[in-house]
Each structure stands twice: as structure tokens, then as C-alpha cells.
């Protein structure tokens, strides 16, 4: 129970309070008295808890399979120094840094995180984090809607399907309509109709993801950027694989005013989906609309430099129903992990990891596309994911790969009926040539080639 009370303590404290028993401390009206028998998992000593979880962990066979799963959650190398630092109790067990004088370390780390995100995205400002990439997109939509007062948003169909689904959940609450841009045959977003659609000036924003859900680099051309500017439509850049920022043009360079994304790749474990860490960065014009915490630099009464949570008048605990967002708890500790990761790998490491991802994915693409019955679905340049057409239901092929202890990727039919024969495969610096070889072998045995192909 982690409670230090002795019987004598309890007796003495009850006496001080002037109450006879622990039960008498918590009087509850008869109408709402607890009558049910509580059914929770049984109490165990710590050594047995460990045994229980080890037993449960063994039921996750998939954790030790050869894996080509990505799609917004990526397996990357994390130097052990990250855990050694981030798990220090001072960081781990701190609350939100309301009392700045005893929180200077954490506040400085948040300021460093904000800086890293700005440097990587090319934006002016960044917040202390939001829940994840999907909610970051939803929050960006609220920023844009409040900025220009328009009640429709336009998002690429090549944005992560879960991000689009979450955006829709949020927009339903605000009666905002979500419209989509189609995918072109090369795997980029089809922007051919965009100019016409923007002309009505009814869209608060256009959101594009690069690399997009298919791994394809998907940046708007200069004509599109101009059309967005001319119509006062805010371009939201989405980055679901933050590692790509170590290699690719910044979203600022391709015209984004708001950049949102997921920084799980920076040292945060895949952990069956969370916690991860979303970021929101923007140009200075959007400063007053950015949601969540912001750490800022100032001075103390003796002129010494220090950090505080600032511009809190945007936030729920001050502004209540007029706040820019309801967010209170964010993902500070995951952002700390990402900050330490970036400090450790530095510019050289980040470039090398990005290059290793590019190299491994090209190796994967070459090997897989040489297999009879497998081909690459898209031709546009890609980062660390590819879409492989297996010319038969992907689901069945993936099930066969599982028999050989391989997680071959995500069945695209799950989200795109038109790509039900396609598998989204990721390769990172963790992927080995041997693993690619095992996959190729298994694919050759699994992909049934119909006569005439």
C-alpha cells in the first residue's frame, strides 16, 4: 500500500482529529453507500507482481518478431544514457513546474525542447508538448479556425488515417467540417484541384503530411504555396516521423505556418502506442493562439537569468472556457526524453540515423520488388517506408508471414479499401540485412503468383 502508518500513528492521529475510527472519517449518505463487493485484481507482494507481469509479457509473442511495422510508431535506437538521465527521480516525480524557483532544471529542459523543435521545423516558436501527433493536428485546426473564423478544414488523404480520425472527433464537437484531398497515382497528395477549392475562401487550413502515411515525400510546390497565401488559408505541416526532420527540407521551407507532429522517434519506446509526444510549432503571428504550456526566459529579483511558465493567460486554469485549449497535463517527460536524445545524437548522429533509414529502406525496396508477385505501389521519393503491392489480399500474406515470426507491415486495406493488396513496410537503422533476407524468403513462400502474372 506504500503507506507508512503504524497502528500507534493511526490511533494518535485519529485522537488529534477527534474521530473514533477510520470509517468515521469518511461519512457517506446512506443513499450512496457502497454496497457492491469490489472486484479488482488480487493483492500480491512485489515479488509476485513481477512474476505476474513477466507472465503477461510472455503472451506478447509479437514483441520479439522480426518487424517491419511503422505507420506512425517507429523502432529506433535509444542510447542507454537517456534512461539513466530521464529516470532520475527529480525529473520523474516532479509536477508541472508551477513553483519556478525549485523547477529551474525542468523549465530549462522545456526551453531546450522548444528550441530543438524550432530548429528542426524552421518555425519561430514551439510549445511544451501536446499528447501526440494526432491531437497536435486537432489543436492546430482549432488555432487556424479561431484565427480566420472559417468553419471547414481540408486535409490530405495521405495524412495518417488515425490523425484524420482524431481530427474528425475534435471537429465534430465544434461543428467544423473536414474535407479531404485525394491521393495521386505517384503517392503524393493530388493538388490539381486545390486552387479551385481554395478560391471560395471557406477553408481555415490545408494540412499536408511529409513524409506522408505512405512514406512518400509530399511537399507542396511553390504555386500551391502561393495559392494558400493568396486565399488566407493556413498551411499546417504534419510530421509523423520526426527523424525525417534530420534530412528533409523544413516545413517552414515548404510554406507551413503551423507545424505539428510526433516526436516518438526521438528515444521514446513504441510501448504499444503510448505515451508518445506531440509537438506544435508556428510562426510568431500565432503565438497567442498556441495551446498548452510555454516556458520562457526572464530574470529574478537579483537580475539572474531564470525560466518560468509564461503567457498563461491563454490557458485553462486562468481563462477557463475562453482558453485556447483545455490541455493541462501534457507529455513533459516524453519531451524530456526527446530533448536528451537530440542532445546525445547531435547534428552528426541525426544525419547518420536519417541516412541509415534511407539506406535500409532502399535495400528493403530493392529486395522486395525483385520478388515475383511483389511491386512498389508508388514511384515518388520516399523516406523510411514503402508501399508494397502483393497483388492479392495483403491480410492473407501478412498472416502467412506471422507464421514465420515476421511482422511484415501494416495491411493498408485496413484504412484504404483501394489498397487492400498493399502492405506498408518500414525499415529503420535497427533493420538488418539478415532480417530483410528473412522477409524476402518468407514473402517468396507466401505470395501466391497467379498464372499469367
Amino acid at each position: 500500500m506504500y503507506t507508512p502508518h503504524t497502528k500507534a500513528d493511526i490511533a494518535q492521529m485519529l485522537q488529534t482529529v477527534g474521530v473514533d475510527s477510520l470509517d468515521a472519517l469518511l461519512p457517506v449518505p446512506d443513499a450512496v453507500k457502497l454496497r457492491a463487493k469490489l472486484e479488482v485484481v488480487p493483492a500480491l507482494p512485489e515479488s509476485e507482481i513481477v512474476r505476474r507481469f513477466e507472465e503477461l509479457a510472455r503472451e506478447n509473442a509479437g514483441a520479439s518478431f522480426i518487424s517491419f511495422l511503422g505507420a506512425g510508431s517507429y523502432r529506433h535506437y535509444a542510447p542507454p544514457a537517456i534512461t539513466a538521465l530521464a529516470m532520475r527521480g527529480e525529473f520523474l516525480t516532479a509536477y508541472t513546474p508551477y513553483q519556478a524557483e525549485v523547477s529551474q532544471g525542468y523549465l530549462q529542459a522545456i526551453y531546450e525542447w522548444q528550441t530543438y523543435i524550432c530548429l528542426l521545423t524552421g518555425m519561430d516558436i514551439a510549445n511544451a508538448s501536446v499528447y501526440d501527433g494526432a491531437t497536435a493536428l486537432a489543436e492546430a485546426a482549432i488555432m487556424a479556425i479561431n484565427e480566420n473564423g472559417r468553419q471547414k478544414v481540408l486535409v490530405s488523404r495521405a495524412i495518417h488515417p488515425n490523425y484524420r480520425a482524431v481530427l474528425k472527433t475534435y471537429c465534430d464537437g465544434l461543428d467544423v467540417e473536414v474535407k479531404e484531398l485525394p491521393v495521386a497515382p505517384d503517392g503524393t497528395t493530388d493538388l490539381s484541384e486545390l486552387g479551385r477549392r481554395l478560391a471560395s475562401k471557406e477553408y481555415a487550413l490545408v494540412a499536408l503530411q511529409s513524409p506522408n502515411f505512405f512514406g512518400v515525400i509530399d511537399m507542396p510546390d511553390s504555386a500551391t504555396q502561393a495559392a494558400l497565401k493568396d486565399t488566407g488559408t493556413i498551411l499546417v505541416g504534419v510530421v509523423a516521423e520526426a527523424l525525417s526532420l534530420g534530412a528533409l527540407q523544413t516545413p517552414a521551407q515548404w510554406g507551413a505556418e503551423i507545424v505539428v507532429g510526433e516526436a516518438q522517434s526521438f528515444g521514446v519506446p513504441v510501448a504499444y502506442g503510448g505515451p508518445y509526444v506531440g509537438f506544435i510549432a508556428s510562426t510568431t503571428e500565432h503565438l497567442r493562439r498556441i495551446p498548452g504550456r510555454l516556458a520562457g526566459k526572464t530574470v529574478d529579483s537579483n537580475g539572474r537569468e531564470g525560466y518560468v511558465l509564461t503567457l498563461q493567460a491563454r490557458e485553462q486554469h486562468i481563462r477557463r472556457e475562453r482558453a485556447t485549449s483545455n490541455i493541462c497535463t501534457n507529455q513533459a517527460h516524453c519531451a524530456l526524453i526527446a530533448t536528451i536524445y537530440l542532445a546525445l545524437v547531435g547534428k552528426t548522429g541525426l544525419r547518420d540515423i536519417a541516412a541509415a533509414n534511407l539506406r535500409r529502406t532502399r535495400e528493403l525496396a530493392a529486395v522486395v520488388s525483385a520478388i515475383e508477385g511483389c511491386s512498389l505501389q508508388f514511384v515518388a521519393p520516399y523516406f523510411n517506408e514503402i508501399v508494397v503491392d502483393v497483388h492479392q489480399p495483403a491480410k492473407a500474406v501478412l498472416a502467412k508471414l506471422e507464421q514465420r515470426s515476421i511482422l511484415g507491415g501494416v495491411d493498408l486495406g485496413r484504412y484504404y479499401p483501394e489498397y487492400a493488396n498493399c502492405i506498408l513496410m518500414a525499415a529503420t537503422e535497427m533493420t538488418t540485412t539478415d532480417e530483410i533476407g528473412e522477409l524476402a524468403k518468407a514473402l517468396r513462400e507466401s505470395v501466391h503468383v497467379p498464372a499469367g502474372v
Binding site: M1, Y2, T3, P4, M13, L14, V17, V19, L25, P27, V32, A36, L38, A43, E46, I49, A57, R58, E59, G62, A63, F65, S73, A81, E90, T93, Y95, P97, Q99, E101, V102, Q104, Y106, Y111, D132, Y170, D172, A247, Q249, E262, Y272, G274, P275, Y276, G296, D300, Q316, E321, N326, T329, N330, A332, H333, L344, G346, G349, L350, R351, D352, A355
Partner: protein, 488 residues
């Protein structure tokens, strides 16, 4: 234990150290990026520093030493439930087959993870009297939003779209009205009565055909049990509305009373408060969202289902509001929370809330000897004291007391909240603190009040032992400096 008192020199930013070529060798040296992609899509420069691993380790070790966590000392932050975070929970979350499990792993190969989610969900349902919990929301405020979106979908389904008002007591957390606004509702702020509670008569004045949801925290942020709660939920239901339970203060209730029995239709929990997940300097948390039977079909997706002896993620919840986040749950925290429940069992959790309430009342009766306690009756897990009288006689405010506590090695209580108590100090000790720790805190607080009466300037100058003194927040807000910039 406070951070090293002598360390007044500023800590340079990570960007101000480092040299090109001082890179750590975690990876193979790779050939240039332009070998893989057209130059037009590559970035021109990457202005982040290369630092040696030792320099990075020293840098963040130093920053940790300038940070106050529960592991450093007593943390009586009201409404935040800063209890001990057991290390075994972290160890379990870091078991390789849990930590390295990809969210797209097929259900059949992730049965252990799904069982963990299911065991937590079932335990929470029983503990709080709900039909189902979604583990999808990432935090308490996120779950509030989810609950209000459920209410919106529910009324739409019933053809009652005119229900656009959410009633929020004036003692409520700021997230309540903010969540209501984010889900498109209008907010009615409800005045608390003289006893610091929601009054049945007052709420009835606001109930009608436009009532959507009434949001309540019980015990409320004054630490008081809403003893008319069943009459309130009945009145809201009679008006056709739904009742939401804000579980921020569930640590006072767990195992002793259940929101479901009180008539609540929707609720959230903060696993990072009640269930010992480390708060990590502001997150990540986790905010399970509970619903009564009539709202199960609206839960966010996915929902974990048990089919015979196997478990599956169900993405096909009939009238679901949809997913609220990228992936299924803050799973590492689900593991931690379940490990905590295993450590306690039902009986242990019941005792937890009793001892949390005992600690709070013990502090209350000790502290009222020298500070006003405006609602002076048996409290639950927390209570409020006020420095209003002290301020009148000495000029020393709640803020000054907070800063003086930092000098004495304690985290300050929540101050200036709830908004209805002037010069408010909201104190929540939690059950994991010993009588000795509580006595030490009382002595420190008494010393501050006595010093304030004798030499107020000493308290007004606090803190003096911390690495910086009081910071200029006005300047920070007026000239926002939110990042480092490279020299141009």
C-alpha cells in the same frame, strides 16, 4: 532536501556548448544524404550541436538537481495527489515485451498487453461503479473532452440537440469549462453555497430543456464531500441531463464510495494522481473515461473486448465518437496503474483513501492553530487554508508563504485555487507521508506564520536558498523569450 543551495550560477543551454566533430558514435558513419534523395527535398543545414555523452550527462544531471520532485521532498500540492511513485511500476512498464511491443502488432500476438488493459478496465469499473472504461484519453482534460463529446453525440442521437448548456460549479478545475467550450457547449458557472458545496436549490434554477451535462468534482476542490450529490444527480436526470464526475479527487473516494452509485453517467480518472503514475514534470498522464451502461456505445475507439479466453481491440463501437489520439492508450501507464492495483487489492485501495483522509485531517487540525481554515469541518483528502487575516495584519500573502516553504525544503501547496477562497492554500498530503513528515511540515508552516508576524520582510524576500529568487513573470509575458537562437 532542497536543491543545492549554493548553486546560484546559471546553467548554460545545451546549445551553448558542443563543438562540431564532438559526435558520439552510436551509429555507422553514413554517406551523404544526397546519395538517396534529390537535393531539392533536402534541408540545407541542421543547426543543432554535437556534444560528448559525458557533457550531456553532466548537463541533465545538473538540471535534475535544480528540479523538485516527490523523491526530493514533501509535495502537498492540492488536487494533484502527489503520492509516492513505486519503482516496481516503472520496472514493469520497461519489461522488453511490453516496452517494445508495436501498436500494430496483431491482437493474437499481443494477448498479454490486451489482458493488462482489460484487467485494469475491469478493476476500474468495479472500483468506481461504471459499466465500461475507455483507456484511450491521454489525460484528465482529454477524458473530459471525450465525455462531453459523448454527451453531444448522445443528445444528437436522441434528437435533443437543443441541450447546449454545461453546468460547472465555481470550485471546478479550469479544465471543466475549457473542455465544455472545446466540445461546443455553453458554460453556466454555479455558485457554491455557504457550506462550500453545490446546493440543490441553486442548481435547480439552472436546469431545463437546454441542460446537457452537470460536471462535479466530489469531494470538491475544497476537500468537502458533496453530501447532496444523489439529490443533485437525480434533479439533473429529471431535467433530462447527464452527470459527469471529475475524478481528480478520486483518491478520497476509492474503495469507500463509487461515482456510479451516486448517479454519475460519465467520469474520468487521472491515473497520474490516484494510481501512482509519475507526473514527469507535467505529463504524460492517462485519463480513463468511464461510462454508465446507456453510454457504452459512444465510447472512443478502440475498446478492449474479451471473447472467451482471448482479447481483441474493438474498433467497431456502434455509435463511437471516434478515436481521441494516435494509438490505443498510454499503455506504459496502464501497466503502472495495474501494478499498483496488484500491490493493493480492493482492501488496500480502501485503506489508501482512508489514510489519505486521515493525513489531510491531521494537518487541518494542526494548521488551524495558526492559519484560518475557512471550511472547518471534517475534510476528505485535502483542505483549504487562507492567509487572508495574515495578509491584513502583516502584508504576507499566500504566495509569500509558498515561497517561504520552498526555502524550508517543501514544495508549496496549490495557491489561489479554488478561486472562491481569498489567499487560498490548498493542501493535499496523500497517504504515503508519515506522521513525522506531516509534523515537520506543520512546524515549518508555523515558523513561517510566526516569522511573518514578527519580521514580515523576511517572508516577503523568500525564497533565498533556491537557485534563483522570485522571477519576473510580467517581463516573461511582455517580452516572450521562448527559445534560443543561433548567432547570425
Amino acid at each position: 532536501m532542497s536543491p543545492p543551495a549554493s548553486d546560484h550560477t546559471a546553467s548554460p543551454l545545451i546549445f551553448e556548448s558542443g563543438q562540431d566533430g564532438r559526435a558520439n558514435r552510436y551509429f555507422e558513419r553514413e554517406k551523404p544524404l544526397k546519395g538517396y534523395l534529390p537535393a531539392a527535398v533536402l534541408r540545407n543545414d541542421l543547426p543543432i550541436p554535437d556534444n560528448s555523452e559525458m557533457d550531456v550527462v553532466r548537463h541533465y544531471t545538473r538540471l535534475s538537481q535544480r528540479t523538485f520532485g516527490i523523491d526530493v521532498g514533501f509535495y502537498p500540492l492540492g488536487s494533484c495527489t502527489m503520492k509516492y511513485n513505486p519503482r516496481v511500476n516503472d520496472a514493469m512498464a520497461n519489461l522488453p515485451a511490453l516496452r517494445d511491443l508495436h501498436p500494430y502488432t496483431p491482437d493474437t500476438l499481443a494477448q498479454g498487453a490486451l489482458r493488462i488493459m482489460w484487467e485494469l478496465e475491469r478493476s476500474l469499473c468495479s472500483l468506481f461503479g461504471m459499466a465500461a472504461f475507455s483507456l484511450n484519453p491521454a489525460a484528465g482534460a482529454h477524458a473530459e473532452l471525450g465525455a462531453l463529446l459523448i454527451a453531444k453525440a448522445y443528445f444528437k442521437d436522441r434528437g435533443e440537440t437543443q441541450r447546449d448548456k454545461v453546468i460547472v460549479p465555481d470550485t471546478a478545475h479550469g479544465t471543466n469549462p475549457a473542455s465544455a467550450a472545446m466540445s461546443g457547449f455553453k458554460v453556466i458557472s454555479l455558485k457554491s453555497d455557504k457550506r462550500g458545496r453545490v446546493s440543490v436549490d441553486e442548481i435547480k434554477k439552472h436546469l431545463g430543456l437546454d441542460t446537457a451535462v452537470c460536471m462535479m468534482t466530489n469531494p470538491n476542490t475544497l476537500g468537502l464531500f458533496e453530501d447532496h450529490v444523489h439529490e443533485i444527480t437525480r434533479a439533473v436526470h429529471e431535467a433530462g441531463g447527464l452527470c459527469y464526475y471529475d475524478g481528480a479527487n478520486a483518491n478520497a473516494l476509492m474503495g469507500n464510495a463509487r461515482p456510479g452509485d451516486m448517479g454519475f453517467d460519465l467520469m474520468h480518472l487521472n491515473l497520474h494522481k490516484t494510481f501512482t503514475i509519475p507526473h514527469g514534470g507535467g505529463g504524460a498522464g492517462a485519463g480513463p473515461l468511464g461510462v454508465a451502461k446507456h453510454l457504452v456505445d459512444f465510447l472512443p475507439t478502440p475498446y478492449v473486448r474479451k471473447n472467451g479466453e482471448s482479447f481483441a481491440l474493438d474498433f467497431d463501437v456502434p455509435r463511437s465518437i471516434g478515436p481521441m489520439r494516435s494509438f490505443w492508450s498510454n499503455f506504459a501507464h496502464v501497466v503502472r496503474a495495474l501494478a499498483y492495483i496488484y500491490a493493493n487489492g480492493a482492501e488496500g485501495l480502501t485503506k489508501v483513501s482512508q489514510l489519505a483522509v486521515l493525513n489531510a485531517n491531521y494537518l487541518r487540525v494542526k494548521i488551524r492553530e495558526f492559519l484560518e481554515t475557512p471550511y472547518d469541518e471534517l475534510c476528505r483528502h485535502e483542505f483549504v487554508a487562507s492567509a487572508q487575516e495574515l495578509k491584513k495584519t502583516t502584508g504576507v500573502r499566500a504566495l509569500d508563504i509558498a515561497k517561504a516553504l520552498l526555502d524550508r525544503g517543501y514544495m508549496a501547496p496549490t495557491i489561489y485555487f479554488p478561486l472562491i477562497v481569498p489567499e487560498c492554500l490548498m493542501i493535499e498530503p496523500t497517504e504515503t507521508e508519515s506522521k513525522e513528515t506531516l509534523d515537520g511540515f506543520v512546524d515549518a508552516l508555523r515558523d513561517i506564520v510566526e516569522t511573518a508576524k514578527r519580521e514580515p520582510e523576511k517572508i516577503l524576500a523568500a525564497p533565498e536558498t533556491t537557485v534563483v529568487g522570485r522571477l519576473d513573470e510580467t517581463r516573461a509575458a511582455r517580452n516572450p523569450d521562448l527559445r534560443w537562437r543561433p548567432a547570425t
